[in-house]
């Protein structure tokens, strides 16, 4: 009796299917665009615009949790099962190599976009082996935020070198509750971004060729970078808790007025000017500190958009791709959602600048950005960096050993890259 009733319910439920289909007999094309949810609503508005302007094509927005990991899992599951459920994917900049070598995303047709229109760094992140597999959608890069008021009061210039940086912190160290420098040191992807910035700031790098050909130098650079990070904590410039900080944790400390300097992504600017911030109007943006003579590169973040290899309507999908990464879309997303455009021209657009006056400043900083190592095995490489950097920072492994291990394992993983 019970079993029969249950079976009936299940059968009824089977009828309640909520899936969508690719296209029906009328020739209507449905495309699915999967991307992280957009709280500003700009993306949905753009999609509606596109649908009205293109009768015969309907684009559906499949909102994903914003977490990059969650999206990665889902996309890998769909794509490794060769599913056509999604036509256009938004991809974290660090996945291009992985997805391209797996044959999961299609090459962008020649002529779809003019490369000159785009920022250099993001464009590189959307390519692999000199082939363009995606179009840069929005970008991000690490910047230094500082308390303009405090520096002015103490008559200090914005520090550029690490020494100047330390001096500034020392001079402003009166309040025990206020930390010098907060950044992201938790064991997650953000740590890789921070670590690389420290490494680049002292002239080091872990490019695969250098890793292979100049291993001892790279190893010393890595050790020096780790030592630098650790010294900031050991000498009290950064709180011990920085080891548990992700973006929001560090940002909070800064906007509560409890630190002088902050390393974070551009989004933190709006947070600093927004409701509840104690530091509205007194925040400045600068390039990250660096060793004398070196360039302070910022890690490139952001997302690209690509067409799935298994899409049943690649032509229409690429058309949409060009639109969603086109000038109009980037402008609207910049104005409504504060997403940093990947097209150079958008930074000069008056409406965009009116909504985001700080973009001009960011544009300057963005002249010096670099990508994380682009490799199909990036996930593993990232894990190696995270694990060893965090161990060195927490003191559970001596800096020298951590550097050795990191370089050794990175050599294994990235060594075959060209």
């Amino acid at each position: 009796m019970r079993a029969r009733t249950t079976l009936l319910i299940v059968a009824m439920a089977l009828v309640v299917a909520l899936g969508g289909c690719g296209s029906d007999e009328s020739g209507e094309v449905t495309l699915v665009f999967a991307a992280g949810s957009d709280p500003s609503g700009a993306t949905e508005a753009l999609i509606e615009e596109y649908n009205s302007a293109h009768p015969g094509v309907t684009v559906e927005f499949q909102a994903m949790p914003a977490s990059t990991d969650t999206q990665h899992d889902s996309y890998v599951t769909y794509l490794s099962a060769r599913q056509s459920n999604v036509d256009i994917y938004s991809l974290d900049v660090i996945w291009t190599a992985e997805f391209a070598t797996a044959g999961w995303i299609r090459e962008v047709p020649e002529g779809l976009i003019d490369r000159e229109d785009f920022l250099e760094g993001p464009l590189v992140s959307a390519s692999y082996d000199d082939v363009l597999y995606a179009i840069p959608w929005f970008t991000d890069a690490g910047v230094l935020y500082y308390r303009r008021d405090l520096l002015e009061e103490a008559g200090l210039d914005v520090p550029e070198t690490w020494d100047e940086f330390r001096t500034a912190c020392d001079a402003l160290a009166s309040d025990p509750d206020v930390d010098g420098y907060v950044w992201q040191g938790a064991r997650y992807e953000g740590l890789v971004c921070n670590f690389l910035e420290f490494l680049w700031s002292i002239g080091g790098s872990i490019e695969p060729d250098r890793l292979r050909d100049e291993t001892p130098s790279v190893r010393n650079e890595v050790a020096a970078a780790l030592a630098l990070m650790k010294s900031l904590v050991d000498e009290g410039y950064s709180p011990q808790s920085v080891l548990t900080y992700k973006e929001e944790d560090a940002r909070r400390v800064f906007t509560e007025g409890q630190s002088i300097f902050l390393r974070n992504w551009p989004y933190a600017w709006s947070m600093a000017q927004g409701e509840g911030s104690k530091v509205t109007d007194v925040v400045g943006i600068a390039r990250l500190p660096h060793a004398p003579g070196e360039t302070p590169y910022s890690t490139i973040g952001g997302w690209n958009v690509a067409v799935s290899t298994f899409s049943k309507h690649p032509e229409e999908a690429f058309e949409f791709l060009a639109f969603i990464a086109g000038e109009r879309s980037l402008e609207l997303r910049a104005i409504e959602g504060g997403y940093l455009p990947t097209r150079k021209a958008t930074y000069a657009d008056p409406d965009v600048l009116k909504a985001n006056p700080h973009f001009e400043r960011f544009f300057e900083v963005f002249r010096y950005t670099r990508n994380r190592p682009r490799s199909p095995e990036y996930s593993l490489a990232s894990d190696i960096i995270q694990e060893n950097a965090h161990r060195a920072l927490s003191g559970s492994m001596p800096v020298e050993d951590a550097a050795d291990q990191m370089v050794e394992r990175l050599l294994d993983t990235l060594g075959d890259q060209r």
């Binding site: 079993a3 990665h72 490794s80 011990q240 808790s241 548990t244 944790d249």
Partner: protein, 289 residues
């Protein structure tokens, strides 16, 4: 009922679940077994090949695997131990309550009712060193002068255990409560007539009759604790010695897309937990006779 009739009836009763489990579960599980002997990488499916026991050899020398095994063991033993004690205490308390039993049990169920991811996120907020409730209370009460780094290198595992105990003690309590209720009241009445005190009653009646339920609770909790993932992932990401085997498997499968080695790890985890369960069962001598 004659034996033949019994057996036929038993067959009919068991068939639906066995068929269901076989149809749905056999393929995924068997495919994992098979894959554990290959080097399949989901990104390069065409390159896959049979590698025999190479994955298993790799497992034996995989330092991360052994380390995570240790972490997982530590977590399981402490966590489940605490949950059993607290769960038993809670069940006894509720059972003894004359009034408000419903309210008590419902209250107790709340931690369990939360989605794990939400509970973990909530705990990361509560344990936050600056804006967390715990540090705020502790400093208000004058018990600490410096902020405690609950999720930092030293206390990470403690915090994970704390959050897990909070969340899953209700599970144990509920099972034990059901067990307590299955003990006929007249046993207690008889004991009281015999002049036994609370402790003696507990030892002679409650505990032995609860044994099967403790066994079930212990078994399922141990199995679940050994495979814990969500909580650790959200609270610490596996940092500072909290990376458990499931976290490692997850990374291998979804970050590196290594289906072959990932399956090997999955099988290894399965075997370990299975042996552990068998051991538990044998030592508790579960009577289902």
């Amino acid at each position: 009922m004659i034996r033949g009739q019994q057996r036929r009836l038993a067959l009919w009763l068991l068939l639906p679940s066995l068929v269901f489990v076989t149809v749905l579960g056999a393929f995924p599980i068997l495919s994992q077994f098979v894959l554990s002997f290959t080097d399949l990488n989901l990104r390069f499916p065409a390159d896959r090949g049979f590698v025999g026991g190479a994955n298993y050899a790799r497992l034996v020398t995989d330092a991360v695997f052994w380390q995570d095994l240790g972490n997982t063991l530590l977590f399981t033993v402490v966590s489940v131990g605490l949950e059993l004690l607290l769960g038993l205490g809670a069940a006894l308390l509720i059972n003894r309550a004359v009034r408000g039993r419903t309210a008590l049990t419902s209250t107790l169920m709340m931690p369990w009712a939360l989605p794990t991811v939400v509970a973990a996120t909530m705990w990361s907020l509560i344990l936050n060193d600056r804006i967390g409730l715990v540090n705020s209370l502790l400093s208000r009460l004058g018990l600490i002068s410096e902020r405690v780094l609950w999720l930092g290198p030293k206390l990470a595992m403690t915090s994970v255990i704390l959050a897990d105990v909070w969340k899953t003690t209700p599970f144990v309590a509920i099972i034990l409560l059901a067990g307590l209720k299955s003990i006929p009241r007249h046993y207690y009445e008889a004991a009281e007539l015999d002049g036994a005190n609370r402790w003696e009653t507990f030892r002679a009646i409650t505990l032995p009759l609860l044994k099967p339920f403790i066994a079930v609770a212990l078994l399922f909790r141990a199995m679940d604790a050994f495979r814990i993932f969500d909580l650790v992932w959200v609270l610490t990401g596996g940092a500072s010695g909290t990376e458990t085997l499931s976290v490692y498997i997850y990374k291998v499968l979804f970050r590196y897309s290594e289906m072959g080695y990932g399956s090997t790890l999955t099988i290894a985890l399965f075997v370990i937990v299975f042996l552990m369960s068998l051991g538990l069962i044998r030592s508790m001598r579960v009577q289902a006779e």
